[in-house]
């Protein structure tokens, strides 16, 4: 594995599978009464969040603490970025403190890639603008695999604001890496620029018609609903919330049709959910929903990522304290 985790494309199938295997061990740690393992004792992990985040930041923080790393949270509000310091200066300043890993969340696409070129420590992308969110894709894969086993040949449908979604960009890569078939669905205004050529190169399907996908020949194994921000309406992306829900929301009626085709279908959402907009309230709480499994997997997967990046050469061998 490389020193950094910037894009889901940085990970081979072997990398993904070994991270997910480690995550299973870590998940077992999570279920013990005493959750702490000594694996990263003496290591320092900085969670540098230039953008608000509750679940991602707290899960990285818990992951670091349970592995005995010293974790420090920095937020852009209290940093010098608001004073106009360049991203490079900010990154070099943190790096000069001899930290081992920088977990970075930034509202600008590419920020994690840029920072990784300037610093000596490992950089983990915890979401960069509308680009990628590779640990989200890993925890989604973990969640899917724990329910359905191998993903080879499984049909995963991603629905929503693809243009502005880093979850989509990372998931399409990781799901393909694991052999799944992917269909993405959105109105034309929320399809990323150039998606036709992109989907042909990378081998996923696109559609403007959610019902055609649900009722299509290829039964759906998992529906991944993306958050749709209401402020997109002012940008002319879609007229009203009501119209969006009619066209692209996962309603109870659509879930019933999905279940009729495939009783084991799973419903996912990276959160935070707009209940009633992209996902009906009762669907979010339906037995098919694995939304809370995703959150739970977040800590184990981030422990595994920290372990693989920071435990270095010995990464193939799990530490004793992490054995179940």
């Amino acid at each position: 594995m490389t020193r950094h985790l910037i894009s889901s494309a940085d990970l081979t199938r072997h990398d993904v599978e070994s991270i997910l295997a480690t995550a299973e061990s870590m998940h077992d740690v999570q279920r013990r009464e005493v959750k702490k393992v000594p694996t990263l004792r003496g290591r320092t992990v900085i969670n540098f969040f230039f953008e608000d985040s509750t679940r991602t930041r707290s899960s990285f923080e818990i992951a670091g603490k349970w592995m005995s790393a010293d974790t420090i949270n920095l937020s852009a509000k209290g940093s010098s970025t608001s004073k106009g310091e360049s991203l490079r200066d900010t990154a070099m300043t943190v790096d000069a403190m001899a930290v081992d890993a920088l977990v970075i969340r930034h509202n600008a696409s590419g920020a994690a890639r840029q920072v990784s070129q300037w610093v000596r420590c490992s950089v983990i992308n915890a979401g960069d603008g509308t680009h990628e969110h590779p640990t989200q894709a890993l925890l989604d894969a973990y969640t899917l695999r724990s329910r359905m086993g191998r993903l080879d040949g499984k049909h995963v449908v991603i629905v929503g604001d693809l243009t502005h979604s880093r979850v989509f960009r990372s998931n399409v890569i990781t799901l393909k890496t694991l052999g799944a078939r992917v269909t993405v669905v959105a109105p034309p205004t929320l399809m990323p620029a150039g998606v036709t050529a992109w989907s042909e190169t990378d081998g996923f399907a696109t559609s403007w018609d959610l019902d055609a996908v649900i009722d299509g020949d290829d039964a759906v194994d998992a529906m991944m609903m993306l958050r749709v921000q209401r402020e997109r309406m002012s940008g002319g992306y879609f007229p009203t919330a009501r119209e969006y829900t009619v066209g692209y929301g996962l309603t109870r009626e659509r879930l019933e049709r999905l279940v009729r085709r495939n009783p084991d279908v799973l419903v996912m959402h990276p959160g935070p959910m707009n209940r009633g907009l992209e996902i009906a309230a009762e669907v979010a709480d339906a037995p098919q929903s694995v939304v809370l499994d995703q959150v739970s997997a977040g800590v184990a997967v981030r422990m595994a990522v920290l372990y693989h990046l920071l435990a270095g050469e010995s990464a193939e061998q799990l530490p004793e304290g992490a054995q179940a």
């Binding site: 200066d89 840029q114 603008g129 680009h131 960009r169």
Partner: protein, 456 residues
Amino acid sequence: MTAARGDHLTEGQGTTNGMNALLITGARLLGRDAADILVADGRIVEVGSLEAPQGARVIDADGLVALPGLVDLHTHLREPGREDAETIASGSEAAAAGGFTAVFAMANTSPVTDTAEAAERVLDLGRACGLVDVVPVGAVTAGLGGERLAELGLMARSRAGVRVFSDDGRCVADGRIMRRALEYIKPFGGVISQHAQDPRLADSSACCHEGEVSGRLGLPGWPGVAEEAIVARDVMLARHTGSRVHVAHVSTAGTVEVIRWAKAQGIAVTAEVTPHHLALTTDLLVGYDPVYKVNPPLRPSDDVEALREALVDGTIDVVATDHAPHARHDKEHAFVDAAFGMVGLETALPVVSELLVRSGRLDWADVARIMSVGPARIGGLTDHGRPLAVGEPANLTLVDPDRALTVDAAASRSRSRNNPWHGRTFTGAVHTTIHRGRVSHTVDATTRTAEAEYAQ
């Protein structure tokens, strides 16, 4: 090596005797037949097979190509306001090193060049440096605000004699303002250089070309139509008003189509393309390096090829650099936050040589047309872009068509280092620049020695 500042102070004080003469021997004029050129008192005094007058400096130009001094319709020299990024002096040195004898300085300084006084200030700073003619561009609208006309007439009447007006960096988006500006400049033969970019189709966060690369990278982009729609409107306004519009930095195939159509109708439209839009593509953005962030954005290879074709067939009239120096701390941000622009004065001729001359698509006479005669004509300069003939102002550029140049950003005369060409090698480089009869730049060691002696 750039000639000593203040060298120009002796300009006009000499006589036509050899002490003030410069003989260029064996240069191929426009890449054709070789001849000697004798320069004295700022003018070409003889062309042919000549003997060096006693005391004259001699530049051995055997194997070199002589062109009329290059003219750049589009530079940002950042003074006044951002002297940490560039000054008129440092920009002039970069221009001379790039073979330019005249450069147009865009109005988006601080304060904006939107008054006669501001324009004269730029002119005077250029003269004080004396390496190139620095020609101020006047703003179209006051403060580049896009709402009311700047004092176009007073700038035109000023000592600076402003003829090119532009809000460059911003589009004159309001159709009514554009129409009135085009009408108003007719009495003094002005031209509006339009930065064509519909601000509603290119929102404030847009930072690159909208297409597959921006989709994958998650970068907000803007499509070619944001440029094309404004160009289409403006050529119709030029037809309606009977005035002249110049399209700055054309970047898309669609714009080329519109301009080709407009020229066929006889509409008074001219256009420029930058070296970077002729060579660099959107693919370079994959590493998110802000050195490649520029406005208009780098486009896909189909657009690049259309731009080359348009330059070769004359649809696009000229090459202009859009030299846009930026301090490091304005570039080393996240891609969406970094400043737009790249430096280009020193690399324009080498890029054109490598891309278009060595491939056989243009000859050196064409280079003279697109980098000297054309821009001088569009910008209304009478002392530049002239024939290499007796009596003409001695603004000359000697090019070594065979010298390979590897670009080193750190070696630039510009104060800034936002150089997209760093590490690339081009064949065809500027050897010597002669501005109003004086050597403003040369790579020739013997000439440098003579220069030093002459200065004593």
